[in-house]
Symmetry: C2
Subunit: 549 residues, 2 copies
């Protein structure tokens, strides 16, 4: 009776007890007693019926103390197989040098001429060791804590599908090596073929047969270890077409490693156990042309710059009169912002830049979100339909545009980002200006890893990556670093927004709000070193070094 | 010169041009011209140096029009291999019935006695077809749009690692079937063995050798198709230990299917191409006992119930005087909330329940977040340290507690949630009261899929799943539905919070704020049908049916 749309009610039952006032006459005491016994028996039976009859098994979800499974395939030149060890070879340096080293080294490009134009024409790579975010006195403790948190993270994020498995040569078994998946606590058929008796072992579920074939000897059906044999090989292989796996140990996202064994040979493969990815689709409004108001919400954060913010809003309204604008505001004395289709959120004073960005995107209900800074100005070149077109027609998750300064200089700020594995000290993060490829069919657009602060993105992906509220002041690429592996990023230079002037003319004095803005924009050192940009890269993302040009 | 902590500057260069006022005397015009030519040549060389010399390839990231790859292993009884087709078999119904049907059917439990206690003692399963969220006139359009959005989603979320691959029997090739991974645009060694000449083909990268072995014939090294042969088999296998794969087509998260071919045999396997999962670790504060203020932020949403909210805050402060409380508030006339360690966020009036929840958790900077409703009361039984202990020591992501009503009735509201694959009409969502297993070492705790609105959770996981701001009013399990496959959920019944009374005493009239609260709490139909609970389940999550007891 608890229908989906009913009010959320902790007490799932609601019943009325009527005490009849008209009386209830018993013919004799015996009948009363008998009736009472009958009712009690019925109630007891009912209680027993609904009593949990399942014997609940316990599950071990403890974090382990032992070493974590080695994830990556050995990336260095392998130790020679002893039988092949004496065969000579010559290293190809140009290829061998591409292989990962043991850990990563924090170094930039040295030397170079120190001319005025040098950094412009010959951008050198600089390297920044990140442990410097911490005082020497706290560094050891920070490393210890980071290592502990990282180990927990690894246990939670790795699954048996990450383990290296190598298929034996000349194995008479035929079996699936990829693509076998079952929903938690469900059952599937697993295909296979053999040339002799076969033993199958699982650890998170049981094996059985959905149909029995004549002439078979089956042992352990319904258990975690099953063996099948027969004097007739065709029958054995027909039986193998009916082998089922049932997951019995619940986990929302893991894998079971199934072992197969026959005379003299073994094999193993993974069965992914997971719910599957539930889609998060958005309604797109009417078909036909792109309805920007139905598809896009504009999001921004403001702080003490209501004049610039109003200029932004006015410029947006010239081209998109009904698109919703979400504004996160952590000014000290928040002002009212008038206008339809505006959602204004007041935050604690100075809560911060990325906190405000995270707030704004957390409120978006349309398929796409457009990020703008509060000092942008829309022009006739700010055609959001072009950005929508890119995301509607490609598999990209985010596409940046270009920002034009008052000088006419237009920037796309494309950055490629890569990670080089380190060891206990952490990985090395490398950022370089540039992009990977041009996008086929969109000649003004490229694929890259980071872009400027003017971009259209799939709302669900941006919300999933998030803007870390620990970043209070200056931050930008941290969002794209957090999005690595998750966001497929593009950049188009033909959709342009203007940037309200930043040029400080010497004869114009700074306004009070400008001064306060400058004070918060370029802050003093934070008290919590793990909340500074470098401190976060070190602790949160487990990097040891950042290099960039 | 653009160091990581420097101000974010679109113009990456900043240089000063000094015009010397002291004059500049040229000895002769010729020297001027020569100098000008020299400077021009230097500048041109510099420009050429920094000119992109890479020929950027184009990449195809278009969404495809064709059918999407079939993900799941055939879950029904297979068609017989023609050679085995005439071998008789008998179906085992108890096992065969566990296999997935063709699509899912929307049906509950019928019949049952309609007694006052019936739903309490014999909770029946009811089934709710979700298309009923839409008017008949709009349903076809909604189905069409949903199908289109779903197809895009599938293309973006599936990778070649989902495809079923079956290893051939008696294959002389030895090769990896799982666990091979490379970071984008990087290089790894891929191991293998053969018995004869071998051809290797990749599609998203090139093959090469890191070292050359004598007596080898190598063709296509550095290309997408490479062949190796030799008259000496040991040399061929030694060479195979030096084969490298270099990813050349950038994608942040995909896989390349590598084909191997030798005389009469083939094999294929996937190389995952991805950045790897960058951790998002949190600083935990001092070691030793659990420092709840450093580890936990309390988050809640309030609407018109400042008296209850203040009661909550006062009760929290009795036990946790310095823990941060984040409050999302969409009341019409927001009041100030006094107190330290309180962060109060003002939203547009009536913006909504899940929007407020999403806002509150978007602001949390500690490792864990504790969700409470604004009418809870902390007592001596509300020991947050116990919940922290569970998450610190297990791999769970979220653990619920228990809520005690004024009557003494204490609820944990445990729900198991599963999805049954449907076909074009969508999947079936099944929710049942109960849990899966007891947690080893925590006898008061179990593993389940959904819990009551009093829980401690890992902040990064909750932020990743999110509370969909499209859910304006009543909603609860939608968060856990969105979290399926991502959140590992537990529930402990020994950490209890009290619920401020809901019993409406007939002689106490409702206050004005209570009346407004009731009006918004139990709302009229929304204008956008895809933003109702059933409409969202239908469109966003692509379900056709919900069953529950």
């Amino acid at each position: 009776m608890a229908s989906v749309d009913s009010r959320y009610n902790y007490n799932n039952q609601s019943f009325n007890i009527h005490v009849s006032a008209s009386g209830f006459r018993m013919r004799s005491l015996r009948k009363t007693v008998l009736l009472a016994i009958l009712v009690s028996v019925v109630l007891v039976l009912a209680l027993l019926h609904s009593w949990p009859t399942r014997a609940y098994t316990t599950v071990d979800v403890w974090q382990r103390q032992g070493p974590v499974v080695e994830r990556h395939l050995e990336e260095r030149l392998p130790e020679p197989d002893h039988r092949l060890g004496n065969i000579p070879f010559h290293v190809r340096d140009n290829v061998a040098s591409l292989l990962a080293r043991n850990g990563c080294v924090c170094e930039g490009e040295s030397g170079g001429v120190n001319l005025p134009f040098a950094q412009l024409l010959f951008p050198r790579v600089s390297a920044h060791p990140l442990h410097t975010a911490f005082e020497a006195s706290e560094l050891e403790e920070m490393k210890r804590r980071r290592a502990k948190e990282y180990k927990s993270f690894q246990e939670r994020s790795q699954t048996p599908t990450d383990v290296l498995i190598i298929a034996e040569a000349n194995n008479p078994l035929q079996y699936p090596t990829q693509g076998v998946e079952v929903r938690p606590l469900r059952t599937i058929i697993i295909p296979g073929k053999t040339s002799d008796r076969i033993n199958i072992t699982a650890t998170l579920g049981t094996l059985n047969v959905a149909a029995e074939v004549d002439g078979m000897k089956i042992k352990g059906d319904g258990e975690m270890h099953m063996s099948l044999s027969s004097s007739l090989l065709p029958n054995l292989n027909r039986q193998l077409q009916f082998v089922t796996y049932t997951n019995t140990l619940f986990h929302p996202n893991t894998a079971d490693t199934v072992q197969l064994e026959t005379e003299g040979h073994q094999a193993s493969f993974s069965i992914k156990i997971r719910h599957g990815v539930t889609p998060k689709l958005y309604n797109t409004g009417s078909k036909g042309e792109y309805n920007v108001s139905a598809l896009v919400t504009i999001a921004t954060k403001t702080f003490l710059r209501y004049d610039k913010l109003q200029d932004l809003i006015n410029s947006v309204r010239r081209y998109y009169p009904t698109v919703t604008i979400v504004i996160a505001d952590d000014s000290e004395k928040p002002q009212t912002i008038l206008g339809s289709y505006i959602e204004h959120y007041i935050m604690p004073f100075g809560k911060g830049w990325f906190a405000g960005r995270n707030l704004a995107v957390s409120q978006v209900t349309t398929k796409y979100v457009l990020w703008v800074d509060d000092d942008f100005i829309f022009t006739a070149n700010t055609k959001l339909e072009k950005l929508v077109d890119v995301l509607e027609r490609t598999t990209l998750d985010l596409v940046g545009g270009a920002v034009r300064e008052a000088t006419g200089y237009t920037a796309t700020y494309r950055q490629t980002i890569s990670i080089e594995s380190g060891e206990e000290d952490g990985d090395c993060l490398h950022m370089r200006r540039g992009f990977h490829h041009v996008i086929q069919g969109f000649p003004n657009c490229v694929v890259t890893d980071g872009v400027i602060n003017f971009f259209l993105a799939r709302t669900d992906k941006v919300q999933q990556v998030g803007f870390d509220p620990r970043l209070a002041r200056v931050a930008h690429l941290e969002f794209f670093i957090d999005g690595l592996g998750s966001l497929h990023v593009g950049s188009c230079d033909d959709v342009i927004v203007n940037h309200a002037t930043k040029i400080k003319l010497p004869w114009v004095s700074q306004s009070e709000s400008d001064k306060t803005y400058a004070k918060f924009r370029y802050p003093p050192a934070s008290s919590d070193a793990t909340h500074t940009k470098n401190g976060l890269l070190f602790f949160k993302n487990r990097f040891q070094c950042l290099t960039h040009n």
